[in-house]
C-alpha cells in the first residue's frame, strides 16, 4: 500500500517563526504536492514537484517555499509564519508512469500560528 506520512499531526508556532513541514512517501512517486485546506475554500495547491529539485508554483505560493532534495521527501517551509497561515496542510503524491492519475494523501498537519 502507498504510504504518505507527514511529520506532525498538530503544530503550534508563533508569528515570525520559521516552520518546516515534512512529507515522505514510500512508493517511488515522481510527483509530490502541498495543499492547504480551509473551511469554505476547499483544497488549494501551494506547490508541487514533478522530479527531484524541480518545483512549480500552485495557486497560492506566496509566503511559502519548498524543497525536494530526495525523491521520497518534499518539504514545505514557512519562512516567517503569520496568523493567516493557520490551516490544515495536506501532502500528496502520485505517479503517472503507471497510467494512474490518482493522488495519495498524507493524514494532514493542522498548523496553528499564534
Amino acid at each position: 500500500d502507498v504510504k504518505v506520512t507527514q511529520s506532525s499531526r498538530y503544530l503550534v508556532k508563533r508569528t515570525g517563526e520559521k516552520v518546516f513541514l515534512e512529507c515522505v512517501q514510500d512508493m517511488d512517486h515522481e510527483n509530490m504536492f502541498w495543499y492547504r485546506q480551509d473551511p469554505g475554500l476547499g483544497l488549494r495547491l501551494i506547490y508541487f514537484s514533478y522530479d527531484v529539485k524541480m518545483k512549480e508554483k500552485g495557486d497560492i505560493p506566496e509566503g511559502y517555499s519548498v524543497s525536494r532534495e530526495k525523491k521520497e521527501r518534499f518539504s514545505l517551509i514557512l519562512e516567517s509564519a503569520s496568523t493567516n497561515q493557520t490551516s490544515m496542510y495536506l501532502c500528496a503524491s502520485s505517479s503517472w508512469t503507471s497510467g494512474s492519475y490518482e493522488q495519495y494523501f498524507g493524514p494532514g498537519t493542522r498548523l496553528t500560528v499564534t
Partner: protein, 112 residues
C-alpha cells in the same frame, strides 16, 4: 484555476438511504475523480471515471459523467454511518496539467 462546484454543500440522511452528490466543472477534462475525507484526516481516492465513460460502479458507489453538461454525480447506495465524511470531486484542468483541481466538497452525515 477553476474549482469544481459540488452540490449540495451538506447532506443529512438516515442509514440505509441513498446519497447523491453532484459536481459541475467548466473546463475540458480527461477524467474526473472522487475522493472522501473523514473528519480531520487526509483524502482517500474512491473512483475515477474517464471522459469516454458515462457510468462506473465500485461496490456501493456509482459515478456518472456527462461531458456535454460538464457534470458528474456520485451515488452511494444503502448508506452506513461509516460513510459520514466529506466528498470531493477532482479533475485535471487542461492538457498536460499536473494540477488536480478540487471542488469544495459535500459534507455527508449518515444518521444511524
Amino acid at each position: 484555476s477553476q474549482q469544481g462546484e459540488e452540490d449540495p454543500q451538506a447532506l443529512s440522511i438516515q442509514e440505509g438511504e441513498n446519497a447523491t452528490m453532484n459536481c459541475s466543472y467548466k473546463t475540458s477534462i480527461n477524467n474526473l475523480q472522487w475522493y472522501r475525507q473523514n473528519s480531520g484526516r487526509g483524502l482517500v481516492h474512491l473512483i475515477l471515471i474517464r471522459s469516454n465513460e458515462r457510468e462506473k460502479h465500485s461496490g456501493r458507489l456509482r459515478v456518472t459523467l456527462d461531458t456535454s453538461k460538464k457534470s458528474s454525480s456520485l451515488l452511494i447506495t444503502a448508506s452506513r454511518a461509516a460513510d459520514t465524511a466529506s466528498y470531493f470531486c477532482a479533475f485535471y484542468s487542461g492538457a498536460g496539467s499536473y494540477q488536480l483541481t478540487f471542488g469544495k466538497g459535500t459534507k455527508l452525515s449518515v444518521i444511524p
